[in-house]
């Protein structure tokens, strides 16, 4: 497992498109959304700034790394490497787990670079070094579960649908399932299966949108409210747990894909 993780990490980090695509998104976010970024940075409290930043990162960067990871498992077959690897004594489950952890670690690197870069810049500019602590907490409770959830599905789903189609579906799902206001149309936003991390963001880190608006829990009149239990610390941990269980199930499904 460690072997596969190490080499997958190495190969993914050498992928130029990883750095280019995530870099472009960060630059675009800073340029196109400069007003919002300035608003985020101008906030007086380091907590609000770091959590707003985490939310911004988690809305856009998973779109890029989800698409980038879509070929990681199927490419073993496309390149013709799968037969060589399958003929080794190494356990296929351990190899898959290693691949998963390796590619997740690889996409975590630029995400961490962008986010902690922002945190350090803010801390130095404002002199509020508590921002670094909040950044660490948001990274662990919000950004990391999203990487693990997206990584698992980006590896597994292209085994049953072509990778290009997965990318299209994934981008659609991501914005539909995370960014749409639940009272406008049925969506997974604000629910415990929202990988953007609404529940932990609100209940474990105490985040509120300006004006006190919530981002987790039941929305009056919205469909799928059974997926939006009352937002509490327990349901926040449950949300993280559900994401990790779904990721594990996706990987388990990928590991038992039928052999001819």
């Amino acid at each position: 497992m460690i072997t596969a993780a190490r080499y997958e990490l190495r190969m993914m980090l050498r992928k130029r498109s990883l750095w280019v695509s995530l870099g472009v998104i960060v630059v675009l976010l800073a340029a196109v959304g400069s007003q919002q970024v300035r608003e985020v940075i101008r906030q007086d409290d380091p907590k609000g700034t770091m959590l707003s930043g985490a939310l911004l990162v988690n809305i856009f960067l998973p779109v890029a790394y989800g698409c980038l990871l879509a070929d990681r498992l199927v490419r073993d077959h496309r390149l013709g490497v799968a037969a060589i690897l399958d003929a080794t004594p190494a356990s296929p489950v351990a190899r898959l787990t290693g691949k998963y952890l390796g590619v997740c670690a690889a996409v975590t690197a630029p995400v961490a670079l962008a986010y902690f870069g922002f945190a350090v810049a803010y801390a130095i500019a404002s002199g509020r070094f508590a921002a670094l602590g909040w950044a660490l907490a948001a990274f662990a409770l919000v950004l990391l579960p999203a990487v693990l959830f997206v990584g698992a599905f980006a590896l597994a789903v292209p085994l049953v649908v072509p990778a290009p189609l997965f990318r299209v579906l994934f981008v659609g799902y991501w914005f539909w399932g995370n960014s749409i206001t639940p009272d406008t149309m049925p969506t997974l936003a604000h629910s415990i299966v929202t990988p953007i991390g609404s529940y932990p963001m609100q209940e474990l880190l105490g985040f509120r949108i300006r004006g006190g608006e919530t981002i987790a829990g039941p929305v009056p009149g919205a469909a799928l409210n059974f997926l939006r239990p009352e937002a509490t610390p327990v349901t926040a941990w449950l949300s993280i747990g559900v994401l990790l269980v779904l990721a594990a199930l996706a990987l388990a499904a990928a590991s038992v894909r039928p052999r001819r």
Binding site: T3, A4, Y7, R10, M11, R14, K15, R78, L79, G80, V81, A82, A83, I84, L85, D86, A87, T88, P89, A90, R95, R259, R260
Partner: protein, 285 residues
């Protein structure tokens, strides 16, 4: 390491029968497997390598039963496999790729792994290019990386599927010589549709057609199947129509045809000494 195959059957979804009750014994040493495309060679290789499960029958590799999970796992520990569709990770160097495969093969000690990787790179004459990314390698160089990874853990069974496909003549000769040298006390199963590769390296061989065994014996025995059935015809007229034309070479008097046929295919035809290719054609046509 001896291989015993008994009434082996493989049916794919959709009803395609790739192997149809195949029984075969493969002894230690170099052994050739010939057959047209679609004869079932690759399916057999993949079953022996533990990558496919048979539909019926039994396969024993040494003392291991390949139809069981434990047997397949045991075979993988003594196996070196070069698949027909060979691929590599383009973003790794040859040394890194081999290091990765060596780790997967259980060579955990770093010093030992470096030594083995260095050895196999020397064997396939790639030591000088080992640091280059594989995306810059030619097809022949990639094939050599393929054989290098197969040799990493000192396999007792080496399965090579169409290893010389796509190689230039010089590389082909070099490659098959290497395989023959590797045979020694291990079993090397060479699957190919290039008859000359078997003629130059194997003493014994089997021929598959439509998933069944149609010949098992020595190279001489298969060659003798064409005795008194190989003809040389020189003509300026139309090509002979009886039998199978093996070759057509321009000649001062027109064309010289080499024909495998049970009776003289044209007036003036002379019998010539058969080779393995003639024997193979006499068998399957």
């Amino acid at each position: 390491m001896r291989i015993d195959i008994d009434r082996l059957t493989k049916r794919y979804r959709g009803g395609v029968t790739a192997l149809d009750g195949l029984s075969l014994e493969v002894p230690t040493g170099m052994f050739g497997l010939l057959g047209a495309n679609g004869a079932g060679k690759t399916t057999l290789m993949r079953i022996l390598a533990g990558l496919l499960r048979p539909t019926g029958g039994s396969v024993r590799v040494g003392e291991h039963d390949v139809t069981t999970r434990a047997g397949r796992a045991a075979v993988r520990r003594v196996l070196g496999y070069l698949p027909q569709e060979l691929g590599v990770y383009p973003d790794l160097s040859a040394r890194e790729f081999l290091d990765y495969v060596a780790l997967l093969k259980g060579i955990d000690d770093r010093t030992e792994r470096r030594r083995r990787v260095g050895e196999v790179l020397e064997i396939v004459a790639l030591a000088g290019d080992a640091g280059r990314k594989l995306k810059g390698y030619s097809g022949g160089m990639r094939r050599r990386v393929g054989i290098a990874q197969a040799l990493l853990a000192g396999p007792r069974l080496l399965i090579v599927d169409e290893p010389t496909a796509g190689l230039d003549p010089e590389e082909r000769i070099r490659f098959r010589t290497l395989l023959a040298q590797l045979a020694g006390d291990r079993t090397v199963l060479l699957s190919t549709h290039i008859v000359d590769d078997v003629a130059q390296t194997c003493r014994e061989l089997a021929v598959l057609a439509s998933g069944a065994l149609v010949f098992r014996g020595t190279v001489e025995e298969l060659t003798s199947r064409a005795s008194d059935r190989v003809w040389s015809v020189i003509t300026a007229g139309p090509a002979p129509t009886g039998g199978t034309i093996v070759s057509a070479v321009p000649h001062a008097a027109g064309m010289r045809y080499r024909v495998v046929a049970p009776v003289s295919p044209a007036a003036g035809a002379e019998t010539v000494e058969p080779n393995l290719e003639d024997g193979y054609l006499a068998l399957v046509k």
